[in-house]
């Protein structure tokens, strides 16, 4: 699968409180959450983002709360992938579990600038920077994670397990 879009670039430790501030957690409706995505570090994000766009962060992306509302808000904004140097562990789980593609790739984070056009091939793990003509290779996911991705997320994975019981 290949996705393509422009990039939004942020620094290290992008936390779940800025991804989706708790004042909006009185709902779990993805469309409603998307309206406020990234509001506290990039107040026009919801207006600027288009289907397929990519978020690029530094280290420890998604640190803080366990709120699944954070990856849900990002996904519902139309973002096709988040690339970071590293992810906070709960965000990492949540992203796979809800089916938001994420990639760990330091080289890509160093190379990509705000508003670059990138194309990502999930099968090969290659990230092409179309603006700069560069290609970065991301780390493959552990086999167990691939099993969940292959099932289509944790919900279908558990569906299968329950059926087999």
């Amino acid at each position: 699968m290949i996705v393509k879009g422009k990039t939004f670039k942020y620094g290290d430790n992008v936390d779940t409180d800025v991804i989706i501030p708790a004042r909006h957690l009185n709902t779990s409706d993805p469309k409603e959450l998307a309206k406020y995505c990234m509001e506290d570090i990039d107040k026009d994000f919801a207006q600027k983002v288009a289907e397929g766009d990519v978020i690029v962060g530094g280290k420890n992306f998604g640190c803080g709360s366990s709120r699944e509302h954070a990856p849900i808000a990002i996904k519902a904004s139309g973002v096709s992938c988040v690339i970071a140097k590293s992810f906070a562990r709960i965000f990492y789980r949540n992203a796979f579990n809800i089916g938001l593609p994420i990639m760990e790739c330091e080289e890509a984070v160093e190379g990509i600038n705000e508003d670059d056009q990138v194309e990502i091939d999930f099968t090969t793990g290659e990230i092409h920077n179309l603006t700069k003509g560069e290609t970065y290779q991301s780390q493959p996911f552990p086999q167990f994670i691939q099993k969940i991705i292959h099932a289509g997320g944790l919900v279908p994975y558990v569906q299968n397990e329950l059926r087999n019981q």
């Binding site: 409180d17 906070a88 558990v158």
Partner: protein, 419 residues
Amino acid sequence: MGMTMTQKILADHCGKEAVQAGEFVEIDLDMVLGNDITTPVAIKEFVKMGAKKVFNSEKVAVVLDHFTPNKDIKSAEQCKTCRTFSDEQDIKHFYDVGEMGIEHALLPEKGIVVAGDTVIGADSHTCTYGALGAFSTGVGSTDMAAGMARGKAWIKVPPAIKVELSGNPNKFVSGKDVILHLIGKIGVDGALYQSLEFTGEGVKALSMDDRFTVSNMAIEAGAKNGIFPVDDKTIAYMSGRTDKQWKIFEADQDAVYDRTIQIDLNVLKPTVAFPHLPENTRTVDEAGDIAIDQVVIGSCTNGRIDDMRVAAEVLKGRKVNKRVRTIIIPATQEIYLQCIREGLAEIFIEAGAIVSTPTCGPCLGGHMGILASGEKAVTTTNRNFVGRMGHSESEIYLASPAVAAASAVTGRITNPQKL
């Protein structure tokens, strides 16, 4: 190869003789937890999974603590969803207003979690129960749903950092200072994907409430869990609270750690984390002259009886500064009642503070103490991210109850040892 304490609990719960760091395992769960914000999402996913009944109605806990008492109509609807589900599923550990407390203070207090348990909770501070010698970690709502459906969770076995504590803390130095000091040292991703395993003779100098505070903020260093060995204090705490059988696990002598960090409690000073990350720590004496608008003493980090007692000790016979709104939130009904019986509530109110019913409210900028632009707060909570407690231009300084109480009195960040 020897195993860490965490690895031993995980091995025991996946039916293996041994597990190794980096290995993926599916563990059996002793408790699955959610709150009023994360449970509604989990219920939706639970239904999508095709699950009909929770795997064990005694091993699921639902605590309505974040936006309660219901702060608005949408929050009320979320609580209603949790209530209906808990009734239908006959959830034994369902806690609503009147019985509820902040989940991570409530579960240990009620004996719902004990040593040797495996716990996942759709709340990042679920790591708190490491203080009891349990493996517990925060997950998202879909993991909670899967846990409710199957009683299992997938876990990547973590490597560990050994934190060796020695000595005795000075007056007004507490568990909060230990964990803030550690996070300052290793950073907010210093323990990413790892366990923090606390050991050493200094452990015995920490009360259970101190240990809960330390384990609670393990996530603030990125850790999967933060765990303490079980000793006489742990057993005394659990005794009389629970009918559950606890099980004591110990790290092997030859357990392998990624690194070892030593903390001498004797030299630790009251510590403050400056905006906007818990790793931005300074000792209170290095804080400089910072005028504040609000103080919050409470939360899953510091809303326990030890915290209330130390705050009362500082505030007794004093008045809080007229410009500082001082909000004190005992974490559970039992702690609230203890505050009344011990005369602490009276001390707080006479000092000019307010005493609130248990709620997570202000910690995450929900309600009961939101900050305006430009305002500064000293709080005993766990996160000082941008906008966490209100306006994106407000500032949060994390500290212990003693520092927060002293700062409420002077209106500036203050060392309680020098008040």
